[in-house]
């Protein structure tokens, strides 16, 4: 009798686990295509445009390309890691590859998340999450030489707390926040982490010398700070939620405010001048997994979704407008999006493909 009861309970747990896993894989979802206006592919980055960093007063965007993520084997990585520059004023639909000088190991430079800081002398300093072919991680700091249009290596930071870094936010000339999107280093391990729900990622603050855990045992993908640098937004991508935290830089601590359910896997964030969040999402997980597993196969692609999210004053609720949705044939596996020219244009980045530049002819303030 006792064993029967135990069996029934375990059976029930197994069934609901299976059910939740299938829902997590988005088996009953699909993407219905729509575009906000005419869209064109931006030439240049072919192997990804995973993150952008916009320099508003210069009207330029840096694009990281060629991300390496949970590689099965270094020999699978047949592309180069690159940083591109895109002029937002000219509609050239061509991004320019800019040289990165004095890297310790140029062959092992595979950029992921990007952020920037303006130094006192006006220099643009880029902070880049970098992986190697063997999936070793570091944060690379580069200064942008505007005249020569090149990036000069400043330093490379390695830290045991950069477990599996994904995105980064510069908070000073030498300080930053880094997200770890998980703890395992292999595809199999990641799958276990994903299915079991025991996440080993989080958010780390590096103060220029020492790193501190700010959020632990969590999955954290894209991270972004509000314009006033008081609110931290964290993509809990595997749970399809966005976590909102009050950030106190002096105290190096966060306090959780809310968690917004999106029912889509939102990746990286951009905060616009009106504090809307723009994000590239993966609306159907099951379709994107195959694409991520074999990035170079052009017959595999994943759906894309761009959302503009507007929070209530107390950050307890959010309005979401879907700017673009695509089954992957135009733009595959979107990760980041940002508006420019007062929201009339948008640039969309992807994990492993070219970015997309669209006009926005639709109303965005619906309520």
């Amino acid at each position: 009798m006792f064993f029967k009861a135990v069996f029934i309970v375990l059976f029930g747990i197994a069934i609901q686990f299976l059910f939740k896993t299938l829902l997590m894989m988005d088996i009953n979802k699909r993407v219905y295509n729509h575009r906000p206006g005419e869209c064109r592919i931006v030439e240049g980055p072919k192997q990804g445009s995973e993150d952008f960093e916009v320099i508003e007063d210069k009207q330029i965007a840096f694009i990281s390309s060629g991300v390496v993520y949970l590689p099965k084997s270094p020999s699978d990585v047949m592309w180069k890691g690159e940083i591109y520059l895109y002029d937002l004023t000219k509609r050239t639909y061509k991004a320019e590859l800019i040289p990165v000088l004095n890297l310790e190991n140029p062959e092992e430079f595979y950029p992921h998340g990007l952020s920037h800081w303006r130094m006192k002398d006006g220099t643009i300093r880029l902070f880049v999450v970098v992986h190697s072919k063997t999936f070793q991680h570091s944060i690379v700091v580069l200064d942008y030489d505007e005249k020569k249009k090149q990036l000069n290596h400043v330093k490379t930071i390695k830290d045991e707390k950069f477990v599996r870094p994904n995105d980064i936010i510069a908070t000073g000339e030498n300080s930053f926040l880094v997200s770890n999107d998980g703890g395992t280093q292999t595809e199999f391990g990641n799958m276990l982490e994903l299915i079991s729900g025991f996440y080993k990622g989080g958010v780390v603050y590096f103060d220029g010398k020492v790193s501190h855990d700010v959020i632990e045992n969590e999955t954290a993908n894209g991270i972004s700070l509000s314009r006033d640098a008081k609110t931290l937004f964290v993509s809990h991508i595997n749970r399809e939620t966005i976590g909102i935290y009050a950030w106190d830089q002096k105290m190096m601590s966060v306090r959780k405010i809310s968690e917004i359910e999106t029912l889509t896997g939102c990746d990286n964030f951009h905060i616009d001048p009106e504090n809307h969040i723009w994000t590239g999402c993966h609306p159907v997980t099951k379709d994107v997994v195959a694409h991520f597993g074999n990035r170079s196969d052009p017959t595999l692609y994943g759906p894309s979704q761009v959302l503009r999210i507007t929070f209530s004053k107390d950050f307890q609720k959010a309005e979401m407008v879907e700017i673009l949705a695509d089954d992957g044939r135009l733009v595959s596996a979107s990760t980041i999006a940002f508006p420019f020219e007062n929201g009339k244009q948008i640039l969309i980045g992807t994990v492993g493909r070219s970015p997309l530049h669209c006009d926005v002819n639709v109303p965005l303030n619906l309520y």
Binding site: I15, F19, L22, L23, D26, I27, N28, K29, R30, Y32, N33, H34, R35, P36, G37, E38, C39, L263, T264, Q305, L307, E319, M320, V321, E322, I323, A325, L330, N361, V362, P363, L366, Y367
Partner: protein, 365 residues
């Protein structure tokens, strides 16, 4: 042996619960977007469930005041009406036009609508009508353009009009009717839905006699292609669109394909380029709540407008989502009409108002 039977039953029960939850669209949500500026059209407030467009006159007829699975006749406090909307003027006002000589004015609650242009140029409307006690008929009205009124021609009742939803005119006196189920009560409909034993189908009425074309299925919106050779049927509860070759002389259909949409597409409109437009219910669990209590303004359901472009062989379709709303602006869309060469859009709802949008985005890509 008994254990094996129990295990099999348990497995069946588990997969049944799973499929039912998926049918109700758990784990789905709507992300709002509009194709351009949208405005409400004054006039219909208790529904705009179906629209028929008379291209020759650039006008739209809109049915309003639907009664559906009405267990309690006293709850139907609204009137059934037909509205007229001029597609050329952007007045954002639809005009309720009088209907003369109806047999039962109080029992006139129109649902699906279609039109036919007679040889003398008269616009003849065919519509599915329910009474407050959910009796069904097909009402035929002629439009008097000079007096701007509809004159009753005849009312057709038939035992095969089990639970009619939509109608397609095929001649001066003939039409196709869809039955969206067989049950006449909310409870009966729930049983039909949960068991999957559909009792709806498709009926052809030749002016004298009706005959079954499809049986034991669910058929919601129906429409013919511009060349009148292809019939599109909304299998709304299965979230698919059935595509059939239609032969009017032989009064027969042949199934060509079934397009999976993963959303409950309701009524259809075929534009001049033979694109299919539909108003859909993307999240069934929210639609059920709203449609179950039509009078409660605090309940609403998501809306979705899709435009389908079929492949030449009609075996696949490209879908563009033209409009999407969580229900606060447009609740439970049922019909969508793209006009002005795809630059404008009308969205009708089951029990609420009518929306007119500009389309400022590309649809062909």
């Amino acid at each position: 042996m008994l254990k094996i039977v129990l295990v099999v039953l348990l497995a069946f029960l588990v997969q049944y619960v799973f499929k039912t939850l998926l049918m109700f669209d758990v784990h789905k949500r709507i992300y709002n977007h509009r194709p351009g500026q949208c405005r409400k059209i004054e006039g219909p407030v208790h529904g705009s469930e179906d629209i028929t467009i008379v291209d020759e006159k650039n006008i739209a007829f809109i049915t309003s005041g639907l009664v559906y699975l009405n267990d309690d006749p006293s709850r139907a406090t609204w009137k059934g009406q037909i509205f007229l909307y001029d597609l050329t003027k952007r007045t954002y006002k639809a005009e309720s036009i009088p209907i003369l000589n109806l047999e039962d004015e109080e029992g006139f609650h129109p649902h699906g609508i279609s039109h036919w242009i007679k040889k003398d140029g008269t616009i003849r409307l065919f519509m599915v009508v329910h009474s407050k006690v959910f009796k069904h008929s097909i009402v035929i009205l002629d439009f008097d353009e000079t007096k701007r009124q509809l004159n009753h021609v005849r009312t057709v009742r038939d035992e095969k009009f089990v639970r009619p939803n939509d109608v397609v005119a095929t001649g001066d006196e003939s039409f196709l009717v869809s039955n969206d189920g067989g049950a006449q009560t909310v409870l009966g409909n729930a049983v039909e839905m949960f068991t999957g034993f559909w009792k709806g189908g498709l009926v052809y009425y030749d002016g004298k006699i009706s005959q079954y074309l499809l049986e034991n299925t669910v058929a919601n919106g129906i429409i013919l292609s511009r060349d009148r050779k292809t019939l599109f049927v909304s299998h709304i509860n299965q979230e698919t669109i059935g595509v059939f070759a239609w032969d009017q002389k032989k009064i027969s259909i042949k199934k060509l394909s079934e397009i999976e949409t993963l959303t409950g597409c309701d009524n259809f409109y075929i534009d001049k380029q033979d694109n299919l437009w539909s108003g859909c219910h993307p999240i069934l669990k929210d639609a059920v709540g709203h449609l179950g209590d039509a009078g409660d303004q605090s309940l609403f359901a998501p809306s979705q407008v899709l435009r389908f472009k079929f492949s030449k062989d009609l075996k696949s379709a490209e879908m563009v989502e033209v409009f999407s709303d969580d229900g606060r602006f447009t609740s439970a869309s049922a019909i969508a009409v793209g006009f002005d060469d795809g630059k404008q859009l009308l969205i009708g709802t089951v029990f609420r108002d009518l929306t007119h949008c500009d389309i400022d985005v590309p649809l062909d890509f």
